[in-house]
């Protein structure tokens, strides 16, 4: 019932010029085959906050991050600025590897090429190295450098946060 209510009353904030490729709720439904678990909360404090800052290259703009987890699979909806506006990205992690990375909402004026599977598929099966970098190189797209960098940061952060969920109480 709760989940039903959660998905029933959505709004879209049409404040910025934005292109929605997939709504966050559709992304979650697709990830968990319509049985979306209750969201969990992960606090970005202490060491976690420092690592997040190191990955993002700036202080995280929130102290708490919402995620959805079922078994070994977790889903993250994260915002990171490419050039001027945040790109909303959905990342699915399964057993510490990226299973799926989708650009959900794009608000920048350029760099939208990162939405295409030819780019996002590169992230599949990627893991996080101990130095918090990705274990494979991602080929860039000319003219979309900042968007590419933003997605790489999001992928690294999601992998790190997934590792951190193991330390949380179920």
């Amino acid at each position: 019932m709760k989940s039903f209510l959660f998905f029933t009353f959505f709004i879209s904030n049409v404040v910025l010029a934005q292109e929605v490729y997939q709504t966050p709720e559709d992304f979650l439904k697709e990830t968990f085959q319509n049985t979306v678990p209750e969201p969990r909360l992960l606090w970005l404090i202490g060491e976690r906050q420092k690592v997040a800052e190191q990955i993002l290259g700036h202080k995280s703009n929130a102290l708490r991050i919402r995620y959805w987890k079922l078994g070994e699979k977790s889903a993250w909806i994260l915002d990171e600025v490419g050039k001027d506006e945040p790109i909303t990205t959905g990342v699915v992690i399964n057993q510490n590897k990226i299973e799926q990375l989708n650009v959900l909402i794009f608000r920048e004026s350029r760099g939208w090429e990162v939405k295409y599977p030819f780019f996002t598929d590169q992230f599949k099966e990627i893991q996080l190295k101990p130095d918090f970098n990705l274990d494979k190189t991602i080929d860039g797209i000319s003219g979309a450098t900042l968007s590419v960098k933003a997605l790489q940061k999001v992928a690294r952060l999601a992998l790190y946060l997934h590792q951190q969920t193991a330390l949380e109480k179920p």
């Binding site: 709760k2 209510l5 959660f6 009353f9 959505f10 404040v15 709720e25 929130a62 102290l63 708490r64």
Partner: protein, 245 residues
């Protein structure tokens, strides 16, 4: 002829010297913008802001969360008490409440912002009941007023259900600010609008004088060229008789 050129050379030289001093000082300061933190130093003087056409409307009201804890929004910024919340930018404050004495829940731009009591952003929630208008409390729970009625949320703000006792929802309201807070906040509200770097850049380029400033600077450039020419001519005039001797 020589007399007139010398006289004009002195007069224009004096005039150009004042301009060169201004240009040198502003150029020197602009070269060290970062070290001198010129971008972070702001002008709050009314006549300077007026000169730049910046109108600052006085802030008169805010949302009282607790005794001496106010959330205030102006066109320029969001304040918790008289402290500007630099990391949060909103267009329209729709309401705010204090949740369990430990969390500020603010509805702004159809988004729910969860803040600590010191104003740090905990989380931003955009998935809310359709068309949220106001925020309030009912039975110690956060409630949203929408066009479709009232909805109440759970502990984690993850789901919403209709409120049965809509008349019992205590909706947050704007109240008149106390005088001491009003005074402080209206000074702080002027911060961030006009920095010293902007004024120095305009002084350096001449734009401080408005649209004509650029032409004034062009004229000053021409005067400098003239001074070079007249100075050279006067020097030659002085040198030539010496050589003929």
């Amino acid at each position: 002829m020589k007399y007139y050129i010398r006289r004009w050379h002195y007069l224009l030289g004096l005039f150009a010297a004042i301009w060169l001093i201004l240009l040198s000082i502003s150029g020197f300061l602009l070269n060290h913008t970062a070290e001198l933190k010129l971008k972070q130093r702001f002008i709050t003087t009314d006549w300077v802001l007026d000169y730049y056409g910046i109108k600052v409307l006085p802030i008169l009201s805010g949302i009282k969360l607790q005794d001496k804890l106010w959330l205030i929004h102006s066109k320029n910024a969001l304040f918790l008490g008289d402290q500007r919340l630099e990391n949060i930018s909103i267009q329209q404050l729709q309401g705010a409440i204090l949740f369990r004495e430990q969390l500020i829940v603010m509805l702004a731009d159809n988004t729910l912002f969860l803040l600590t009591l010191s104003g740090d952003l905990i989380e931003k929630l955009v998935y809310l009941p359709v068309d949220p208008q106001h925020i309030g409390m009912v039975d110690n729970q956060v409630a949203l007023k929408t066009k479709g009625g009232f909805f109440v949320t759970n502990e984690t703000f993850s789901s919403w259900k209709p409120v049965e006792k809509a008349e019992q929802v205590n909706v947050s309201k704007q109240e008149t600010l106390p005088n001491d807070l009003k005074e402080n906040i209206n000074i702080n509200n002027k911060l961030g609008l006009l920095n010293i770097e902007r004024i120095l850049l305009d002084l350096h380029s001449g734009r401080l004088l408005g649209g004509w400033g650029v032409y004034v600077m062009d004229a000053m450039g021409l005067i400098l060229l003239w001074l070079v020419g007249s100075g050279g001519w006067l020097w030659l005039k002085r040198q030539l008789p010496l050589k003929t001797k």
